[in-house]
Symmetry: C2
Subunit: 204 residues, 2 copies
């Protein structure tokens, strides 16, 4: 791609560094910004820079936060004895949306994945194990995705806390509500039969 | 979507203003920036702001440029009597890539589109007509997309210069090289028969 302007080229190249944004998409986005009032670009740049520089991670759960200890960890109405272990902030948002969980979270910041060069030391695992050893934790819920990396991470954490008097659980795997059985994959369908639960017509 | 941080929320909202970027994609991009070194966000913000503030449009053809008159308009080896009328800078880049055109360009900055609120006065049409009236122009090549808006724009410009001794042409519409006839739409196929050209086995 040959650009008529170095400034344009630089902006497109920087934009194309973002995941899933190719050069053509980057050019489309940058040309859109050029058509909009200059303030929009200013607002976007400022929001990104301020966010990158000033954002904090909760000292307790490592979730993204504007303060040292996030709202969830600071909330005395929540059950601090149940910790839900998740991969990143998006999972916290997803589970919070369900309104079904009243415990607290621990954000690992990723999964153990040797192929991507992510080892246990790059994740927030040590602080989780230390928290568990303090004796205040009753249950750890593993809510990582059920991939090889997720299972590895679950097992790695489990090995370190298995001698502590802590219950461990994983979220249920099964057929999604509203899904047709015939389109479900065999592994999920198989697990949903093995892990069947007592019928209760009052559960929606 | 509920965010655990106002800074994160603001960055995501600004990012989601870009066309084709929804809230989820914006969140993914912003979280990616958070995982990268802070310089990457800084580089991106700087490139965007500098580009938006310092970029110029060529005084002659309105193409994006770093200088007052762009390289193409400044090149005495190019034929300044043939002007190719295009919608935006991407079309200039696409035609330049073919290495088949040695004239100059005129970038309209859009197409007449009442439905999007774009009238002739928002486009660089007046300067094109003035350039044509100076008597140095031999041919105008309309290279807008063949949509209703493109055809309207072509016709609007044509009406204003039709009494001048200027040849007008449009780029050929037909079956793309390598395409199968059976999958071509009827309008394109029809035009390709009406506008057939003498057979020449030397053309690749």
């Amino acid at each position: 791609m040959e650009f008529s302007s170095k400034l344009l080229e630089k902006a497109v190249n920087e934009m194309a560094q973002l995941p899933g944004i190719g050069k053509r998409t980057a050019l489309r986005l940058v040309l859109h910004l050029l058509k909009q009032p200059a303030e929009q670009t200013q607002f976007l740049s400022n929001a990104l820079t301020t966010m990158r520089e000033e954002i904090k991670f909760c000292k307790s759960c490592h979730n993204i936060s504007d303060v040292d200890v996030c709202e969830i960890c600071n909330n005395s109405n929540r059950n601090h004895q149940i910790i839900c272990v998740v991969e990143d902030v998006r999972d916290v948002m997803a589970i919070e949306n369900t309104n079904q969980f009243k415990g607290v979270y621990h954000v690992l910041g990723g999964k153990i994945s040797p192929i991507d060069g992510v080892g246990p030391s790059q994740l927030n695992i040590t602080s989780l194990v230390e928290k568990a050893k303090l004796g205040q934790v009753e249950e750890l819920i593993f809510a990582l995705s059920s991939t090889m990396e997720g299972d590895t991470t679950n097992f790695y954490i489990y090995k370190q806390i298995k001698d502590l008097p802590i219950k461990t659980s994983t979220i249920a795997r099964g057929i999604a509500v509203g899904d047709e059985l015939e389109y479900a994959d065999e592994v999920t369908l198989g697990r949903s039969i093995l892990n069947r639960i007592p019928f209760d017509f009052s559960i929606k």
